[in-house]
Amino acid sequence: MGKLLIFMENQREVGGEGQEPKDEYECSKPLHLMAPVWNRDTRGIHGLSKAVAPEGSRRKGRSLLQFLADHFYDVQALREYLLRKQVLKVHQKNRPFTHIKERFGPHAAGAYFILKQGGAVKFQGKEWIRPNTRGRFSLDFLTFPEVPVEAVDASGSAINYHGLDNLLALKELQSLWLRRCPHVDDWCLSRLHPLANSLQELSLAGCPRISERGLACLHHLQNLRRLDISDLPAVSNPGLTQILVEEMLPNCEVLGADWTQGLGLGPEEQSQDAASPIPA
């Protein structure tokens, strides 16, 4: 649009130079009334690119915007591709290790999976096995395939719904920590019921996708003794949820939000404010 105006302006200038036109519509030079040809690589209108001389930086900015506008669908496809790649990366991390499962049994496969994610594993009667800062870990646990896994710490890992396949085979798991896992959501919680016989401790603190709807399916875990549901941003009413979960699991100690949270100022706090108007 701006270029069209410049075109018009220039024509008027061209007409105005030299002799005075007899009337508005007569000019000394013939007007090149060519329709502006917009090709994909537009720098200016054909035939006028020399006459029109915008400043250097404005031209660069305009041509970058023009480039992006001309290649809109390409840019969109690139963004979709990058998004797909991210999703595929998470899926790749959660792939099942069937060859290890067949050779060494489900406990070793589950332990290998967790260690690969950057988590820690504790076998019954042994110490915690953690990967070092480089991500490497010892493969000694493959030598004792019969020993069950007792505790798993998958905090901060990229475990998701499909990755839980590896964990659900650990029939004697007693303690599971899934703190701050970005892909653990309500659907994953509904999958935990096969661990009901053995699971005694579960920690879900800080998972951004878990809401009270997923917590409702924890009632299958009747042997649970410690449950940590603090700091769940997607839960709409943390205090009320805490009460309801405590009612749902009577034998379990539920750590989470304080039930007074969200109740507003209590009477003692109000009188305190009145007594000391100047904050300490």
Binding site: D74, Y81, S190, R213, L215, A216, C217, L244, M248
Partner: protein, 486 residues
């Protein structure tokens, strides 16, 4: 270069027109275009048929490859899968015609929103299993660049079906079929029921089946909006209007036994604009009937069922609207967070709603007590007489409750066998059905959409075989008997 490498990376056909701006028109019919341009110029010149330029953006386009009658979850699902499965990308023009953009009477949004695999017909179980997979990965299927991710608020709390002595054997065989198809369902005895859910009174219950995973309820409105947003980004056009007429042509054919049949083909769909006499004839190749409770009327407009009764020409589409009530009540001492979607042996059902001890529930009336589907007025006496007593007997805490609100919605009720009708009509060859689900349409919509799209694009069902649900069964009398219809 970038485009070519992206094409290969995304696995699309190298000849696909997926990327790059649309250059020119999609056909090379130069003569046709010239005659159209001449016609338009003639109408603009004085003496022509065209009035002054005015805004016609509310009118649907004059041509569309597929016209989907009905913009609820079923119609939008078919539109989504058509655009997703088409090759090459951008090949098919789809138009969705919806009479009411506020969806005030649409079954989708008035639904209770449950999804279960506890059916007796294997095809229903498979449809439901795919749909729950779709819902779980909804942000991969329905992702739109720059829009926030969808949250359908799924409660994975499961369904609990209770059966009396009479129905216990049927329930057990159903559970066996469900387990074979891959559903995670377990059977419970009355003692186990009492241990697990202390608020239930298991008197009269012989057996119960409980879905552990992949069952629950969600928010149908957010699914509808998510589908709408995605489908619009894929290039499907929407139009607010009512389909009033189908213009079709007939041709004669002979069956192998020598009988003469009349095959019809719909050429134009007349879409009438709201509050006006104006209509737009839309030329189309395929019509999809996803009109829900009003599918029977749409089918009649297309000429389905015009013939002597007992013949294929005379077989109407047996889908009619049936009114169902849903009540929301509050019971402070009621069941807690673990409450599944409970369906009593008597047919009454309820589920938890939110965290404040609120519950949604209802009951399907018997054939004799069917309310008049003329309007969506709620009958509160129905709750007092038919819904409350069985629920209060099953859950003693419900003896004291307070009804907060109620609403009514339509089932697109298939009077023949209460299962969906999917696929083309044998005589009106380019009309496809996706309707008649009698209360379980929402939970099967993603899978049915894919099946209809496969039928339209490939001519047969490729993933889930829904041949038992074709239209022919109405003429042949083959009922698909489903036990677990609520």
């Amino acid at each position: 270069m970038l485009r070519r490498s992206l094409q290969l990376a995304l696995g699309r056909d190298v000849l696909g027109r997926g990327l790059g701006t649309h250059r020119g028109g999609s056909t090379l019919d130069w003569n046709g275009k010239m005659s159209e341009i001449k016609k338009k110029i003639q109408s603009v010149l004085p003496g022509g048929a065209w009035t002054q330029l005015h805004d016609t953006s509310y009118l649907p386009p004059e041509h569309s490859d597929v016209v989907i009658v009905g913009g609820g979850v079923m119609g939008l699902s078919v539109a989504y899968w058509l655009k997703r499965l088409e090759r090459p990308r951008g090949a098919i023009r789809v138009l969705v015609v919806e009479r009411d953009h506020t969806y005030s009477q649409a079954s989708t949004v008035l639904s209770v929103g449950g999804i279960r695999q506890q059916f007796s017909v294997p095809e229903n179980i498979q449809l439901s299993l795919f749909s729950i997979d779709f819902l779980r990965n909804i942000n991969e299927y329905l992702a739109v660049v720059d829009d926030p991710p969808l949250d359908i608020q799924f409660n994975p709390s499961g369904y609990l079906l209770l059966a009396s002595e009479k129905g216990a054997a049927v329930l057990e065989s159903n559970v066996r079929v469900q387990r074979q198809e891959g559903a995670k369902v377990c059977l419970m005895s009355p003692e186990q029921l009492r241990n697990k859910f202390p608020w239930i009174n298991p008197e009269g219950v012989a057996l119960a089946s409980y879905g552990m995973e992949h069952e629950g309820w969600f928010d149908p409105w957010s699914l509808l909006q998510g589908l709408r947003r995605k489908v619009q980004s894929m290039g499907v056009l929407f139009c607010q209007g009512e389909v009033t007429r189908f213009v079709s042509s007939s041709s004669h054919a002979e069956t192998p036994s020598g009988e003469e049949v009349t095959l019809k083909r719909v050429h134009e769909v007349h879409v009438k604009i709201d509050h006006s006499l104006e209509y737009q004839p839309v030329e189309c190749a395929i019509v999809i009937n996803a009109a829900g409770a009003w599918s029977g009327q749409i089918a009649e407009l297309a000429g389905v069922g015009k013939g002597p009764p007992g013949t294929l020409q005379g077989t109407k589409l047996p889908v009619e609207p049936r009114k169902r009530y849903v009540y929301l009540w509050n019971c402070p001492q009621g069941p807690g967070l673990e409450t599944p979607f409970v369906i009593d042996a008597s047919g009454a059902y309820f589920r938890r709603e939110g965290l404040g001890n609120n519950y949604l529930g209802g009951c399907s009336p018997t054939e004799e007590e069917e309310p008049d589907p003329e309007n969506l007025e709620v009958d509160h006496e129905f709750f007092q007489d038919k819904v409350w007593p069985p629920l209060a007997q099953r859950v003693p805490a419900f003896e004291s409750l307070k009804v907060r609100s109620a609403w009514a919605g339509y089932y697109d009720y298939n009077t023949f066998d209460q299962n969906g009708v999917v696929g083309p009509h044998p005589l009106v060859v380019n009309m496809y059905f996706a309707t008649g689900f009698s209360g379980h349409g929402l939970q099967q919509a993603p899978a049915v959409g894919r099946a209809v799209a496969e039928m339209v694009l490939h001519g047969n069902f490729q993933t889930i075989n829904l041949s038992p649900f074709l239209f022919n069964r109405f003429h042949l009398g083959e009922k698909v008997h489903e036990h677990n219809i609520i």
